[in-house]
């Protein structure tokens, strides 16, 4: 991984995800801090990334690297964690039964992925599917159900579902800009994950700081 990517690109990308992850546009702009549960999910996601080799922490922090390079690597890991937290903040609905269902579903999915130990490419695909599905469900399906200006079919469906879910299905209604920002945030997040230094299959002994500056990380 290049020095520029480690020192500038990844921290700034992840911090941008952390900034945009809480943006909700309604009558006014609200910046929602992440709920505590998203910290647990982010921790699991980082675990999955390390286990699969999509993130090799030893290439960011190790005894063979200078102290400043280690601090720089630590910043990448910390910002990746913050971005993951905010990505889950985007993906999980803000209230009611959907919030509970999404949280449990994501938790089970991540624990299952952790146990399955897939490789890097499969994990990145899996992350794309997880966040893509959550985006569609939250910003398209649930938003349509919560829209008071919907048609008669939507209202009938909502009445039936509200009965089944004790009236906890409807979500706060945000402006369409929220969905666009969420889409950009999740795309940026998944793209940034693909830029993380992966585990190398073999080491280059001649590398100045161990495998970090190797050429086999593509």
């Amino acid at each position: 991984m290049s020095r520029t990517r480690e020192a500038f690109v990844l921290p700034l990308l992840f911090l941008t995800v952390a900034l945009l992850g809480g943006v909700r546009v309604a009558d006014r702009i609200v910046l929602l801090p992440p709920p505590l549960f998203t910290l647990v999910l982010a921790f699991l996601l980082v675990g999955v990334l390390v286990r699969s080799g999509a993130l090799a922490p030893e290439r960011l922090m190790s005894a063979t690297r200078p102290p400043l390079a280690n601090v720089s690597g630590a910043v990448v890991i910390v910002t990746a964690f913050a971005a993951a937290t905010q990505a889950f903040n985007v993906a999980i609905p803000e209230a009611g039964l959907p919030r509970l269902l999404f949280s449990v579903f994501l938790l089970v999915l991540l624990v299952n992925t952790l146990a399955a130990s897939p490789d890097r490419v499969r994990v990145l695909r899996s992350v794309l599917v997880i966040f893509g599905s959550a985006f569609v469900l939250k910003f398209i399906v649930l938003a349509a159900l919560s829209d008071p200006a919907g048609g008669w079919l939507k209202r009938v469906l909502l009445v039936m579902l509200e009965g089944l879910t004790f009236g906890t299905l409807s979500q706060d209604l945000y402006r369409p800009a929220t969905g666009y920002i969420a889409f950009a945030t999740l795309t940026l997040f998944v793209g940034s994950l693909a830029l993380l230094p992966p585990r190398q299959r073999r080491r280059l002994e001649s590398a100045p700081y161990g495998p970090v500056h190797g050429e086999l990380d593509r």
Binding site: A7, P11, P33
Partner: protein
Amino acid sequence: MRESAARTLGLVLAAAYAAFIVWLYVRQPQTVAEMTGALSATVGTYSIDDRAFADGLRFFRSDRFDAARLAFDRADPAHQDSRTQFYIAYSYYRQGWGRLYNDDAQFARGLEAVDRAVAVAPQGRVAVDDPDLQLRSADELKAELQAGLRRDASYLNPLKVFRQRK
């Protein structure tokens, strides 16, 4: 660029960006004007438009509260001046006050404004030396607004028609 210089620059940039994000989430600015105003208030360079404030005060004293608030908003677009926010809150109080009943929506907006005034005041203390006002501190004004929004037995007291607007 040298390795250490590049990494140091990256760390400084990341730290500054992270601090900015935390600041945004804590302050929750609603508009670009609020954001820039809050930033300049943080470094102590924020100032209101005195002419717009004087206009607002003139409208306020002649009971033209909507016009007063427009002028006050122009004077303090970032909502960072406690005195201006205090007058905005007071304008909601006076406009919403009624001999038989108060306008709850106006009082609620007044509470929001007085909370903003307290939030940006040093040590949370707002005191305005204005002989035209009977409530000269944010504490008194907030208590009056909260009392106006309260619903209890005193709300039905017929003697309240004799009370005076402050």
